[in-house]
Symmetry: C2
Subunit: 176 residues, 2 copies
Amino acid sequence: MERDWDIVEVLRHSRHDWLNKLQLIKGNLDLNRIDRAKAVIDEIVIEAQHETKLSNLHMPLFASLLLKSNWINPSFKLEYEVLLESESIKVDDGIMTSWTTLFFSCLNEAIEPFQENHLSITIEPQSDGIRFFFDFSGIIIKRELIEKFFADRIVDLMVKEFSNSELTLEVFMPIL
Amino acid sequence: MERDWDIVEVLRHSRHDWLNKLQLIKGNLDLNRIDRAKAVIDEIVIEAQHETKLSNLHMPLFASLLLKSNWINPSFKLEYEVLLESESIKVDDGIMTSWTTLFFSCLNEAIEPFQENHLSITIEPQSDGIRFFFDFSGIIIKRELIEKFFADRIVDLMVKEFSNSELTLEVFMPIL
């Protein structure tokens, strides 16, 4: 699906991200905005906690896809929240990852690059599986690509909102 | 030589390291030691710059070994400095990595764990190759293991100092 990433390359991207975060802290300290610097640190810690939870999901392929998304999908900025405390729910990692890979690829084609495009994914446990809530805001210029992609459904998908600037949808993956 | 590391696992270790660094900054801010917090940030940036230089050395196997060393060699703490600006010098990555892997393994066996064991590696360009300067300080309890390891030389090696608490040596790798 994707080329292999070696440790040197993964750490190069990760180091770049962390240095940007450090720069944000440093910038606030230089302006003597100590409370803001502390707040930035708290935000970074929360983000890292979601990364940790994502990594603990027993969905290594899906986690890997999300963790490197901002390095390879320059057209939109991905954020995610994992509201799952229990790590015992097992869903089909392969299918969810395949669908999400295709969705990211479709989104990259369908939106206007160099704009404020954001995709947020919320991952929530249900009694009988996991619910993935996708919330995109930005500029969609090729709506038909997304409609075509939605026509071929390989997952249980419900589109909630779909305009030229907003797309929200839910994917439900049943417990294995 | 080593098992494969996937992106999730590499980022898990890396995240842990960065969160520790962040904690150090946060701790100083909480004690209102703003200048110390800034100094910590500067130190982290310099460390990251050495990581970047290491990653640019065209020695992917050696870089990978050093980058993950502190995750897999609990008996000593590794630090490194790369004084190489030019990235054009090519030496034998495979041989240097094999030797260093064996050296780390020997060191892990030969030293007393849970002590202040530090290994610092300085990487310096020469006109005709690269010089790797290893400086260990800590507690060596099985000196004979190291002596035996040095007897089988696969690299151009010069031991400078070798006591029960100090071991310094140079490895020279000729240009390819």
